[in-house]
Amino acid sequence: MSLAKSPWIIHVNVNSCNGCDIEVVACLTPLYDAERFGVLNIGTPKQADIMVVTGSVNYKSVNVLKNIYNQIPDPKVVLAVGACASTGGIFHDCYNVIGGVDQVIPVDAYVPGCCPRPEAILDGVVAALSILEEKKKGNIKGKEVKLKGNEVPSNA
């Protein structure tokens, strides 16, 4: 059985401006139709394979993000969608913004752009699929991210 034939994704919005979110949803709707790759948007982290994160992380949403990441079963792949999720984007200097998603949880693939086009997001999901297969073969597990409260990362 191939996991990559039907990956289930969970879409997590941490501190995003909605722009990337509506493009992620647009991927799932008829024009771009990610379902033809077997991609299904699922509400619960317990059944998800790919975590699609939009938005830079802030001090309140950081624990939500860690919590959801820890609940996803292995093998799991994290896809950071948009400039904010990748690096913090134009908000990286804001006082409430920690930075990109990779400051908090390990990220496997990035989709740049503000906002990325649905084609780019689909490309990112397809790239994530091969990483997912590799992780499954190599039995690579995502490490547990500890909930410590609203801490500041060491390089901030």
Partner: protein
């Protein structure tokens, strides 16, 4: 005995993180406690470091759905500080951009709402039609979501003859499509069963709670900033304020569908009256003084306050967004609603959390 059930911040029907603590008694909501801050970035402070032209791009990124109107309202507020008159063609281009934004936002909401009450095919239908509008916006502004069409002093992009023909043709195709989905939203038995009589707000209560936008008009108050604010273009173009008397989820849905038709008419009128000429004037110097600008977003009234101090950076930028005004009315609507209907009532105000928290 009451039970407290958390709704959000991560919830299948909510595209954005907002947390509501629902106090439940026997499956009926008796109390609600909202918790915000999951999308707070601190943009009003952030603009300290940017000059007033760059701030336009920050304002557009307050929210990705109504981004065009955010940018336009900010530009108009700063133009008021400078006391400059922008070319008439730029005003019309802004109206066209605003109304296309409104059409796409309402179709988006109708889709998410249909998904909220479990009507998957209707959700897909709405989003399919929305792509037509996004194509227009992309041809016009160069981008699907963040448009950056407006700038301080006018518009940064012009419409060509071919683009105008394309807009008119797509809108002609779009109107019967919207009629199709309207039939389902208004007449379908299952939809009516879910929406009629749910989350009722009386005319008086909606007014007193300071509600804005379609939520206010769904309760029978004909308040639309496009009519009342000091932007003459809309009065010249002429449009009807859509209202419904019901004050429930069904009424608010009908208001939004009617507004799509009105916006289509407005775009057509604006194109027919589109004057020739320049699209931007040069703005020189640094802003001083303070100004307030109001505009009607898809979700309701947005208020911009800007204060300049004679340097290139603005001293203060304050934004009052429609969802901020609508959250108190949501708290009034929810008590008495069954737990299973909570997502529908929450969606019915068209919550835009990233606008609210900035």
């Amino acid at each position: 005995m009451t039970t407290v059930i958390p709704f959000g911040p991560q919830h299948p029907v909510l595209p954005e993180p907002v947390s509501l603590k629902l106090e439940i008694d026997n499956d009926v909501v008796v109390g609600v406690l909202p918790s915000l801050g999951y999308v707070h970035r601190g943009l009003e402070k952030f603009i300290d470091t940017k000059d007033y032209n760059q701030t336009m791009y920050i304002c557009e990124r307050i929210c990705g759905i109504c981004s065009g109107i955010h940018g336009i309202t900010y530009s108009r507020a700063v133009e008021k500080l400078f006391d400059v008159e922008i070319p008439e063609r730029a005003q019309y281009l802004r109206v066209i951009n605003s109304e296309l934004c409104r059409i796409h936002s309402h179709l988006l909401w109708l889709g998410l709402f249909a998904d909220g009450f479990g009507f998957e095919s209707l959700f897909y239908e709405c989003w399919k039609y929305r792509e037509d509008v996004l194509d227009l916006l992309e041809r016009f502004t160069g981008n699907r979501v963040i448009h950056s069409m407006s700038k301080v002093g006018g518009a940064s992009r012009d419409l060509t003859k071919e683009q105008i023909d394309q807009i008119l043709k797509t809108l002609d195709d779009l109107e019967p499509k919207v009629k199709n989905i309207e039939k389902v939203f208004v007449n379908n038995y299952t939809v009516k069963k879910r929406l009629v009589g749910l989350g009722v707000m009386s005319k008086q209560l909606a007014y007193e709670a300071g509600t804005a936008g379609p939520t206010l008009r769904g309760s029978g108050n004909a308040v639309d900033v496009r009519n009342t604010a000091d932007w003459d273009i809309y009065r010249d173009l002429g449009f009807k304020t859509a209202t419904e008397k019901e004050g429930d989820c069904y009424g608010r849905t009908k208001v939004r569908i009617d507004e799509i038709y009105e916006s289509i008419k407005l775009v057509r009128n604006a194109i027919s009256k589109l004057p020739d000429g320049e699209i931007a004037t040069r703005v020189k110097g640094f802003p001083t003084g303070e100004a307030i600008m109001r505009a009607e977003q898809p979700r309701g009234e947005v208020v911009y306050y800007v204060k300049g101090n004679g340097t290139k950076n603005l001293e203060r930028l304050k934004v009052r967004t429609p969802t901020f005004a609508n959250i108190p009315s949501l708290l009034l609507m929810l008590p008495g609603v069954k737990l299973a209907d909570v997502p529908i009532v929450v969606l019915t105000i068209d919550p835009c959390i990233s606008c609210t928290e900035r």
